[in-house]
């Protein structure tokens, strides 16, 4: 069989083109390419070379429109046994090609040419074309003449022109030879044989038949020559005769041949016109041709004309090969394919399949074409030699498109662009199922694997390591789930074997392993945040960063542009990092020699890393690099050097793959099968590089570890800042953020500001004062773990010069440094409980009044020196008693392993009634230190005496919010709620004056925060603590008019130094006494005073039947009125009959009590009498019983 058969093929003159001498392949190709366009020589052009020797047998030759056609066969064709049957199979001319510079000896060339054309006995015309002869050769050649034609050196156009002329000459010679041959054949007849003709002896009848046949065959052959000579009309005439004779003699084979020739003549005659009538005619005649060829088959024959039948089928198919007639063509081609079985010669089968594949291809049936191409490749592979393997490889490469396994290097930019559109949709988040499906169209994994494996096999045999590598890579990457671990290993070996034959640094368009996807783009480290600068404002950073406490704000949701335009800013010269995840889903150890980010924009230096992946494992690795110049950066993927070849792995492809896996379209998700968790589709943000910015780096002096503090501890921490960038810092501002901001008591931003501008490399250190917060119960369990969340941070906004030299219009951004203060709060002293204790020590009646605090702090009184106060606070004077004194008891325990010392101080404000708050200094009472050992607890008593207000008054109501709370209780018009709030405010004020400081070790000190506990303890009895009774009662012995001389309480207090001598009372003596009643309110109080005396047993010894005390003066129902803030003395005398201990008590019922008094007495109704009772006074009566 012959390749590329067509109906018109019968009219083509086969010309062998043979290189003579040594012709370099590329030069030969060049000469051959010059020859190829000369396949058609018009008859009109050859007339100058044509001389009519005899009368031409081609009577109807169309000299004006006819052509001679050539079919050039490079290297010549072996003579076919069928060339008598079809003259176009004969090599009718031989053209030798000589490249003179490489073949200097022209004689040798001529001899060689003579030898080579002698091997083509059918050749009628021989010419030897010698190109680029030198001068001597020219000279010699022109002398020789004969077949040699010299082409002097010239440019290509000239050479082509010369060649054209030479070919016209050849054509003319051929035409003359044809005429000669035809004349000879017509006159003498010729013996024409085919391998079909039996060698057996013929019977006489058959001899006659054979004669007739011979005539027909001669006519047919003459017709062939007419066709070759470009005269279809003549040819047709001869063919008609041949057909007649063929039909008569039953020579089906030659009949079919003549019929074929007649169709060719018909087509040549109707050159270019194709109508349906012609088509029908051709179809009809060719069907008959095929039928006759079939008829001529004889099973007894050794050779079969099946090839002619198949060729005829292919010719018809090629003639009809149009989309509209697809069905018919498919039918023909299927029939032809069926014929392959009957072909004995493997190369015939090869040609048949090639032709079928070509015809299917031109019909647009790519899959059919691929199928037959693969059949071709398999036939090639059966030959087991390198050239066949190369052919197989190339044929298979053509099928890859139909099977969707093509190498990326063969995919045009256009299709890449189309795929890009798909991935853009994927980036958008929502992607329609159908468009996902379209990404994975025609995933016939079984056949795709087979094709790739065959490519690999053929490439290995053909010795093409790159193709082998690429095929193995595609196979491994796309179909690893379908390959056994052993097979995967084999592919890995194939990859490394191929790469050994490749030069180092070879690149391949098809990636192998691993699978790479973006894991994340780490946002700037917190100390590298970039903040847009608003040059119009002093606080230029405001509004540029998310200010709210929420990472996610619902308001940004609707703005899809923001989400899409996820932007990343990188800075020239500052290293960046990208996290990518690698997966090796195969069963072998994967060694990635180097992997780095692939950046096409050229302004980025990527740092390679090498890594090895265990079987079926995935790893997240950090790829880093440094932006080198300003501009956008795009990162489509990674460059990987693995298995000896450099490949680019695009993130987009893996994303599509994962998408397909999610939809069940792809076999497996390489990451999931490696046990990697499902990751959200991370899109590569748009990245831009900006000019260099200053870079502040911070560290805590003394180590960056956590600062360990006990609860409430106060400590200074020094923070050092250094400019690590290349740009000076010109602006800086410090602020606080995060939780527990109040734990930062102070920070010195002035220190930083004073050092501005901070040059590159400069350093500044400033102090920050911290106070540890309370550890809550939940925190206490995992103090060390949760410290990050609860620590405050210093926010330092800083910026370089406003304008950069590169772009004077743009405002260079500032940056933000977050200095997290890693504070680890340990549990310190723990507070157990607080309770209020009241103490009642009765006072002794003496000559002076017991000194009440309120008295000393009376509005008219001066300051008392604190020393004496401290004395009195600590010691309890038995004569004074402690009626109304209350203690706050704090119980503290020390669960730590260090010793704490407690120091309680009470701050006392003397602002009670005074308007001049400003010049009133607070008085502080200190108490001795209490030491609490480890694992011990202790109680600290805090006297609350000093808090009593001197006057029960509603004047505070308007002046002072501190006492408003009390006022609220007094005034019925106040709502319940506000009174409660006021009460709380009052308590808070009280509590804030009590401070519990602690010390531990050398440098730990702090304050215990127990406000809440104290507040809780005081809640119920705050009124008692804070407010004085409306009336103060006291008793005094009167000794010879001392009282009138000595009203000053301060002096009285001095007298207290020797109380024992003065306070004794003798029995059976008249003892004059004074009951002192003081009005603590600002209103006149009218009341009914009663004085009683009780003995040890508590019996009333004044009234009653067995009274042991006699008296003068009035003791009961004394009605008195006391002006506001005044005291009155009520004198009386007692006469004790029995010595011993007595108790004096004063009580009063207030008449017409106002609201204040009622509130103070917690009276529930207005009708209830207000009853005031004084503290008991002890009196010791001496004497002999």
């Amino acid at each position: 069989m012959e390749p590329e058969v067509s109906i018109e093929g019968s009219s083509m003159i086969q010309v062998a083109v043979i290189p003579i001498g040594t012709v370099p392949p590329n030069v030969l190709r060049d000469y051959y390419s010059m020859l190829l366009p000369l396949h058609t020589i018009p008859l009109s052009a050859i007339s100058s070379f044509y001389t009519e020797h005899q009368k031409s047998p081609f009577a109807h030759q169309p000299w004006d429109s006819g052509t001679l056609r050539f079919k050039f066969v490079l290297g010549g064709a072996t003579p076919s046994p069928w060339e008598d049957f079809q003259s176009h199979r004969k090599t009718l001319a031989v053209i030798g090609i000589v490249h003179c510079p490489s073949s200097p000896d022209l004689n040798a060339v001529v001899d060689q040419f003579a030898n080579s054309y002698k091997s083509n006995p059918s050749s009628l015309v021989e010419r030897c074309f010698a190109f680029y002869p030198n001068d001597s050769q020219l000279e010699e050649g022109s002398k020789r003449g004969g077949n040699l034609r010299l082409f002097p050196p010239a440019d290509r156009a000239t050479l082509e022109f010369h060649l054209n002329t030479m070919m016209q000459e050849v054509a003319a010679s051929l035409l003359m030879e044809f005429e000669k041959w035809v004349l000879q054949a017509e006159s003498s007849g010729t013996i024409l044989k085919t391998p079909l003709d039996s060698q057996a002896s013929l019977s006489s009848e058959e001899v006659i038949k054979a004669k007739k046949r011979r005539l027909g065959r001669a006519q047919k052959t003459i017709g062939d020559y007419c066709l070759l000579a470009g005269s279809p009309v003549d040819a047709n005439a001869h063919y008609s005769t041949a057909l007649e004779l063929g039909r008569l003699t039953g020579d089906y084979f030659w009949y079919a041949g003549a019929l074929e020739g007649s169709v060719c003549a018909l087509l040549i005659d109707r050159r270019g016109q194709k109508d349906s009538a012609l088509e029908d005619e051709v179809r009809y005649r060719y069907n008959s041709v095929i039928l006759n060829y079939k008829k001529s088959q004889d099973n007894t024959q050794r050779v079969s004309p099946i090839t002619f039948e198949l060729e005829a089928t292919l010719k018809l198919a090629r003639f009809l090969c149009r989309r509209e007639l697809a069905k018919e063509v498919v039918e023909l081609l299927t029939t032809a394919a069926d014929g392959a079985k009957s072909l004995i010669d493997a190369s015939d089968r090869l040609i048949l399949y090639i032709e079928i594949a070509r015809l299917y291809g031109s019909l647009g049936y790519q899959r059919k074409a691929a199928f037959f191409s693969r059949q071709v490749a398999q036939l090639y592979l059966q030959q087991e030699n390198r050239l066949a393997a190369i052919s197989a490889m190339q044929v298979l490469a053509m099928t890859t498109k139909a099977y969707h396994v093509q190498s990326k290097s063969s995919i045009s930019d256009h299709s890449l662009h189309n795929k890009g559109i798909g991935s853009d949709k994927a980036d958008g988040g929502k992607i329609h199922h159908q468009s996902v499906v379209s990404l994975f169209e025609s995933q016939w994994s079984t056949i795709q694997m087979v094709v790739l494996r065959e490519i690999l096999l053929s490439a290995v045999r053909a010795g093409d390591p790159l193709t082998a590598w690429s095929a193995a890579a595609r196979l491994l990457r796309s179909y690893y789930p379908l390959i056994t671990p052993a097979g995967q290993n084999g592919l890995a070996n194939a990859l490394s074997n191929s790469s050994e034959r490749l030069p180092p640094g070879t690149r391949c368009a098809d990636p192998a392993l691993p699978f790479i996807r973006v894991h994340s783009f780490p946002v700037h480290q917190r100390q590298m945040d970039i903040v847009k600068r608003n040059p119009a404002r002093e606080d230029w950073w405001v509004g540029s960063a998310p200010s709210g406490p929420f990472i996610y704000t619902p308001f940004s949701k609707g703005d899809t542009n923001n989400i899409k335009k996820q932007e990343l800013v990188w800075i020239v010269g500052e290293p960046i990092q990208v996290l990518v995840e690698l997966a090796n889903p195969c069963g072998f150890d994967l060694r990635v020699d180097s992997i780095y980010l692939s950046v096409h924009s050229g302004n980025f230096d990527a740092f390679p890393v090498s890594i090895s992946l265990l079987p079926n494992s995935s790893k997240v690795i950090t790829l880093s690099g440094i932006p080198t110049s300003v501009g956008p950066v795009t990162i489509p993927g990674c460059i990987v050097h693995c298995f000896g070849v450099i490949t680019e792995h695009l993130f987009r492809e893996v994303d599509n793959l994962l998408l397909g896996a999610a939809q069940g379209l792809v076999l497996s998700d390489p990451f999931r099968c490696c046990g990697s968790p499902k990751l959200k589709n991370v899109s590569v943000p748009s990245i831009s590089v900006v000019p260099p910015l200053p870079l502040l780096i911070s560290h805590v002096v003394g180590g960056d570890g956590a600062i360990i503090l006990y609860e409430g501890e106060i400590r200074d921490v020094w923070i050092s800042l250094a400019n690590a960038g290349t740009v000076p810092i010109e602006q800086a501002h410090i602020s606080l953020s995060g939780k527990n901001q109040d734990s930062v008591i102070s920070y010195s931003s002035e220190t930083l500001k004073s050092r501005l501008p901070l040059k590159p490399g400069a350093e500044v250190t400033f102090p920050v004062t911290l106070r540890a917060w309370q550890v809550s119960v939940a925190d206490a369990d995992n103090t060390r773990h949760s410290k990050d969340g609860s620590c405050p941070s210093l926010l330092i906004h800083y910026a370089g010069p406003l304008k950069t030299s590169e772009d004077p219009n743009a405002v260079s951004p500032g940056r933000r440094l977050v200095v997290p203060l890693q504070i680890c709060v340990l549990q310190g002293l723990s507070f157990v409980k607080a309770q209020l204790l009241s103490m009642e020590f009765p006072a002794h009646v003496s000559e002076s009044l017991p000194k009440f605090d309120d008295v000393s702090n009376s509005p008219t009184g001066e300051h008392v020196n604190s020393e004496s106060k401290i004395d009195r606070l600590v010691k309890i004077d038995p004569f004074r008693g402690s009626w109304g004194l209350r203690f706050l008891e704090l119980e503290l325990s020390n669960p730590t392993d260090v010793v704490f010392e407690i120091n309680v101080s009470v701050k006392l404000e003397n602002s009670n009634e005074d308007n001049h708050l400003a010049d009133q200094d607070a008085t502080e009472y200190g108490y001795p230190k209490t030491r609490i050992d480890r694992d011990c607890s202790a109680r600290v008593l805090v006297p609350l005496e000093h808090f009593k207000l001197p006057v029960l008054d509603d004047s505070f109501l308007t002046k002072d919010t501190q006492t408003d709370g009390v006022g609220g209780g007094r005034t019925a018009s106040f709502s319940e709620k506000s009174s409660k709030a006021e009460l709380n405010a009052c308590i808070r004020n009280l509590v804030s004056r009590i401070k519990v400081h602690w010390h531990s070790g050398r440098n730990s000190s702090g304050e215990l925060n127990i406000k809440d506990a104290i507040q809780a303890a005081l809640q119920t009895s705050i009124m008692d603590v804070l407010l004085p009774d409306p009336l103060t009662f006291g008793f005094r012995l009167v000794r010879d008019g001392v009282e009138s001389n000595n009203p000053d309480p301060v002096k009285e207090s001095v007298l207290l130094e020797s109380p024992a001598s003065k306070s004794s009372v003798l029995a059976h003596e008249m003892t004059p006494m004074v009951a002192v009643v003081r009005n603590n309110t600002k209103d006149m109080i009218k009341m009914n005073l009663n004085i009683t005396c009780r003995d040890v047993a508590g019996e009333n010894c004044v009234d009653g039947t067995k009274s042991t005390v006699l008296w003068t003066g009035v003791l009961s129902d004394i009605t008195i009125e006391i002006p506001p803030l005044q005291q009155i003395n009520h004198s009386f005398c007692l006469h004790f009959l029995v010595p011993g201990e007595y108790t004096l008590l004063a009580a009063a019922v207030i008449d017409d009590a106002n609201d204040i008094l009622r509130a103070r007495a917690k009276a529930t109704s207005a009708a209830e009498p207000i009853f005031c009772r004084g503290p008991p006074y002890h009196l010791r009566v001496l004497g002999n019983a």
Binding site: A326, K327, V330, T334, A337, D338, K341, Y360, Y365, Q366, R367, K368, A370, F371, F372, R374, Y403, H433, Q434, V437, S438, F440, E441, S442, Q443, W444, T446, I447, V450, Q663, G664, L665
Partner: protein
């Protein structure tokens, strides 16, 4: 001996969503691959042919050597393709119709994404069972079918499919006893599994 059959469902996106070798011949890997190649190539023919007829069953559309491709195109352009090596249009047609029904049931599953691979083992079992039943039909040896005339082959088929002795009830009144005897012999012959396995 006719023993090859390969069944495949190709989605409208030309992705094979179900594949099954349902032949009774010993499975050879390269043969299975060839089957897929032939079916894949036949898609070219189907794509033109499907628009020329309103019938879903396109009969045999393509062949390569002895292997014939029969195709059934659903309304959604999903193609059921069967590669087989003997002709029994009726059997194949009913096989396709049954599988189409099964396929529709699969489509109705809300968890099945149209166009994705059918992984239901239930579907697989059913298809293979169908193929086994009809397989006796479309894998009938040619020489045997040649011996049997048409009505008999129907009876034979019915018997094979339904696995119940319908021969007597269906054919006895109409055929000559001698023939019946022959049928019964044939039927037994057909039912002998060794003939096929």
């Amino acid at each position: 001996m006719a023993t090859t059959a390969c069944f495949i469902i190709v989605s409208r996106n030309d992705i094979p969503i179900y594949e099954a070798e349902v032949g009774v011949a010993a499975k050879r890997e390269d043969a299975a691959q060839l089957h897929q190649f032939i079916l894949h190539a036949a898609l070219d023919v189907v794509q033109d042919l499907a628009w020329t007829t309103s019938a879903m069953y396109l009969k045999s559309v393509d062949r390569f050597n002895e292997l014939v491709v029969s195709v059934y195109v659903t309304a959604g352009h999903t193609r059921l393709m069967l590669l087989h090596d003997s002709r029994n249009d009726d059997g194949i047609k009913s096989f396709f119709q049954e599988v189409h029904e099964l396929y529709i049931k699969t489509l109705l599953n809300p968890l099945y994404l149209p166009g994705s691979r059918i992984t239901s083992s239930h579907f697989d079992t059913k298809v293979r069972a169908l193929a086994r039943n009809f397989g006796k039909l479309f894998l009938l040896p040619r020489d045997l079918t040649a011996m049997v005339d048409f009505p008999l082959s129907i009876v034979l088929c019915t018997r094979v499919i339904s696995r119940r002795p319908c021969l007597e009830s269906y054919m006895l009144p109409k055929v000559v006893p001698l023939l019946v005897l022959q049928f019964v012999m044939l039927t037994d012959l057909v039912l002998d599994d060794q003939l096929f396995d």
